[in-house]
Amino acid sequence: MVRNGFDSPIVKLLNVSYDYQSRRGIDGVTLSIKKGEFVMLIGRTGSGKTTLFRIMSLELYPDSGEVMLSELKSSQLKRKKLPQWRRQLGIVFQGLHLIGNRSILDNIRLAALCERRLRGSPKARSLRALGKVGMAHRLHDKASQLSTGEQQRVAIARAIVNEPFVLLADEPVSNLDGETSSDVIDILRKINSAGTAVVVATHQPERFAKCNPREIRLDNGKLVEA
C-alpha cells in the first residue's frame, strides 16, 4: 500500500454518475478528499449521500466517471483487487449491520481477519480498536445487548480496526441523543486527528461544527456546494 502525503487526494471522484432503475442516484459528481481531512457530506434524505459511499466502496460501480483510491482506479480495477481497495476504507453503515448474536469482540475480529498485513494479531488489534472507542469493558457482550450509542461506537471500532486511510460514516449520530452524539463525534475527531480522513454523511451538519469540517452539499444526486 502506498501512503499518500497530506496534500495529495486519497479519494477522487471524476464526473461520477449512477442511476438506479427508477431514479437518478448520483449525477456527475466530481470531488476529492485529502489525507487527514474531515469532510461532511450534507444533504436531505435521498440526496445521494449513501449512494456516494457505496460507490466509494465499490459496492456500486459508477455508470460513468471514475473513482480513484490511492493508486487504484475503479475502471481498471480487476475483481481480485477489490478486497485491496476496500481494505483502505473503513465504513460505518447507517444501519450499523452488527451481527447481533455475536460478541462485540467477534464482530470486530471478523473485520480484523480480513487484513493480515498489519502488525498484531486480529484479536490484539480488535482490543486496541475497542479501547479507542471506550468499549473495551464490554467486549464479551453480545452486540444486540448494547444501546444504540454503544452499537455506534462498536461499528466505528470495526471500521477502524484495519487502520484505513479513509473512514466513511453514514449518519453516525442521526439516532443518538445530544450527549451520546457528542461522544461519538469526539471519537471521530480523535480518529481524524490521528491522520485518518473522515467523511461523514449527515443531514444534521450543526452537530459537527466543532470538527471544523469541509462541507460538501448534495441535492438530488448533484454536488451543489463544495
Binding site: 466502496s57 459496492e59 475483481r79 481480485k80 477489490l82 478486497p83 485491496q84 481497495w85 476496500r86 481494505r87 483502505q88 476504507l89 465504513i91 453503515f93 449491520h97 452488527l98 451481527i99 464482530n107 471478523l110 473485520a111 481477519l113 480480513c114 487484513e115 470495526r158 484495519n162
Partner: protein, 284 residues
C-alpha cells in the same frame, strides 16, 4: 482462511432449521440408496459371474477331421482374446457326458456313438456375454474343421438383460436422488446466505476476499454431507448385517465404501453450497 471457514461453517451448520434437516434427510436417503445399490451390485455381479462360469461354448468338429487339424484348432481357439480355456472332448467322452447328464446310454440305444468330437470353450469371467460370446462363437465357426458352434444364448441374454436393467434402475434412482438432495442443499445454503447477509457484507466491505466470504457456506455444505454420509454408512452396514444374518455366503463388501459414501455426501454438499454461494454472494 481454512480455519476461519471451518469455524464459521460450523457456526452456520449449528443453526440448521427445518430445511437443513430436510437436506440431511435427503442426502442420507441418497447415500443409503447409493450404498445399497453398490452392495446390490456386488451381490448381483457375484451371482452373474457364478452363473456365467457355468456356461460354455461347444464347438463340434467335422466328423473324421485330421488330428493335426485338431491340434491346430486348439491353438487357434486359445489364441482368441477373452478365451479362458479350451478342452478337447472325444466322441467317447461326449457319450459319457451325455450318459451322465441324461442317464441314457447311446451305444445301447442306437448301437453306435453319433456324437462328434468337440471343443469346450470357457471365456474369461469379465467378458461381457451380450457381445463377446457371440463374437467368439462366430469367430470359432469360421475355423476350418469346425462343423457347428452352440451355446445357451437365450439364457445368457436374459441374465444380461436383468443385470443391465437392474443397473439402469439403480443409476436412474441414484441420479434422481442426487438431484433432489442437491436442490435441498442449494435451498439450505441460500437460506443460510440470506440469514447471514450482515456477515457477508462485513467481510466484503472490510476487504475480505470472495473466497473468505464464500468459504463458510461451502464448508457448511460439506458438514451436511459428512453428517449424512456418517448416518448413511451406519444404515448401509446395518442392512448388510441383516443380510449376513440371512445369508452367510454373501460377497464381502469392501470397507473402502465408507469413505466413498462420506466423500460423495461431502461432494454433493460442497457442490450445492458452492453453487449457491457463487450465485447469491453478489457484493463482489
Amino acid at each position: 482462511m481454512i480455519y476461519f471457514s471451518l469455524v464459521e461453517g460450523w457456526r452456520n451448520f449449528k443453526n440448521l432449521g427445518i430445511i437443513g434437516l430436510l437436506t440431511i434427510c435427503s442426502l442420507t436417503i441418497t447415500l443409503v440408496l447409493v450404498g445399497v445399490s453398490l452392495h446390490g451390485y456386488v451381490i448381483v455381479d457375484s451371482w452373474r459371474k457364478g452363473l456365467l462360469g457355468k456356461f460354455e461354448i461347444e464347438a463340434f468338429l467335422v466328423p473324421g477331421v485330421d488330428s493335426t487339424i485338431v491340434a491346430g484348432l486348439e491353438v487357434k481357439i486359445n489364441a482368441v482374446k477373452i478365451v479362458n480355456s479350451v478342452s478337447f472332448v472325444t466322441p467317447e467322452q461326449a457319450a459319457k457326458r451325455f450318459s451322465d447328464q441324461f442317464d441314457i446310454d447311446l451305444m445301447d440305444m442306437m448301437g453306435y456313438n453319433p456324437l462328434p468330437s468337440s471343443f469346450i470353450i470357457k471365456l474369461n469371467r469379465s467378458a461381457n456375454p451380450a457381445s463377446s460370446w457371440q463374437t467368439v462363437s462366430d469367430r470359432v465357426a469360421t475355423f476350418k474343421g469346425i462343423d457347428e458352434v452352440v451355446y445357451e444364448g437365450k439364457v445368457l441374454a436374459k441374465i444380461e438383460n436383468f443385470y443391465q436393467k437392474s443397473g439402469s434402475v439403480a443409476i436412474i434412482s441414484v441420479g434422481v436422488m442426487v438431484i433432489i438432495s442437491l436442490i435441498f442443499t442449494i435451498l439450505t445454503s441460500i437460506g443460510s446466505i440470506k440469514a447471514n447477509e450482515d456477515f457477508i457484507r462485513l467481510i466484503a466491505l472490510s476487504g475480505g476476499s470472495r473466497t473468505m466470504a464464500m468459504g463458510p457456506f461451502i464448508v457448511m455444505g460439506g458438514y451436511y454431507g459428512a453428517l449424512a454420509g456418517g448416518i448413511a454408512v451406519g444404515i448401509v452396514y446395518f442392512v448388510k448385517l441383516l443380510l449376513l444374518l440371512g445369508w452367510a455366503g454373501q460377497p464381502v463388501v469392501p470397507i473402502v465404501w465408507i469413505p466413498i459414501l462420506c466423500g460423495l455426501g461431502i461432494l454433493i454438499g460442497v457442490i450445492g453450497a458452492g453453487w449457491s454461494a457463487s450465485r447469491k454472494i453478489t457484493i463482489y
